[in-house]
């Protein structure tokens, strides 16, 4: 089961902070997961097109071609602004 988290502007725009589902077999990378989510409609398309969007697998920021097995915690979030 994939656990997906959304933070900050994304959480607000998507009106959700977390969801879980089984990764479809044909989705094997972070980029493909983003495409899958963007296919849900305009709201998802816009939110996941955010400039500088970051993706983390198991709490490590990673590239968009990182492989997924389907048992990860995946987080999407905008560029960070702490400090």
């Amino acid at each position: 089961m994939l656990n997906i988290l959304y933070f900050a502007r994304l959480r607000e725009d998507l009106n959700t902070d977390q969801e879980q589902f089984d990764l479809p077999e044909d989705v094997t990378t972070t980029d493909q997961l983003r495409d899958l989510l963007m296919n849900r409609g305009e709201r998802w398309q816009n939110a996941l097109s955010t400039e500088g969007l970051l993706v983390a697998i198991n709490q490590d920021v990673c590239d968009w071609n990182t492989p997924l097995t389907g048992n990860e915690e995946v987080a999407f979030f905008p560029p960070v602004t702490g400090g």
Binding site: D60, F77, T81, G82
Partner: protein
């Protein structure tokens, strides 16, 4: 003599006390010759870079009244620990303390504390700045400003990336 190289990382809603943080860095370690501390405060600047208090006609600008900070629990602590380990690999450090607040804050409130102790001031100065530069660009915190004109998420600054890139 054994030197205890302690790292403390706290993400909390409560305010922090500079004296307590400083005392903790200084405690029980005569090998320390220098302590550098940094405190980040909330200012009333809006995202356009104007300060309401600087401006003679404050009405021109919407000043920030409240800041709300959120983070990614777990990843934040992991990223901050990694940053401290990188700093320890570059400089000779004894204690490192990081406190970052989350939740609602008002202008002049303390947001973040970084304190570093070392045998030498050069290491303490450099490591403190290094930790802050990477905290700003890598730790998963996000700020939302409430202004007289409404709410907005703060945009990341390229100048912060430039500051972190200096160390590479």
């Amino acid at each position: 003599m054994s030197v205890s190289k302690q790292t403390h990382i706290h993400v909390q809603t409560e305010d922090f006390d500079l004296n307590i943080e400083y005392a903790a860095l200084r405690k029980d370690c005569p090998a320390i010759g220098a302590i550098t501390t940094f405190t980040g405060l909330m200012r009333d600047f809006n995202s356009n870079g104007h300060s309401a208090s600087e401006s003679h006609s404050a009405n021109e600008y919407d000043s920030v009244t409240t800041l709300t900070l959120e983070h990614y629990p777990g990843m934040t602590e992991k990223v901050l620990s990694d940053i401290v380990e990188q700093a320890r690999a570059r400089w000779e450090l004894v204690g490192v303390r990081i406190v970052h607040r989350i939740g609602e804050m008002q202008p002049s409130d303390q947001i973040v504390f970084v304190g570093v102790s070392s045998a030498h001031r050069g290491d303490a100065f450099a490591a403190c700045e290094f930790i802050m530069d990477f905290l700003k660009t890598q730790a998963p915190f996000w700020k939302k400003e409430k202004t007289t004109e409404g709410e907005r998420w703060v945009d990341a600054k390229t100048s912060d990336d430039d500051s972190a890139d200096r160390w590479l």
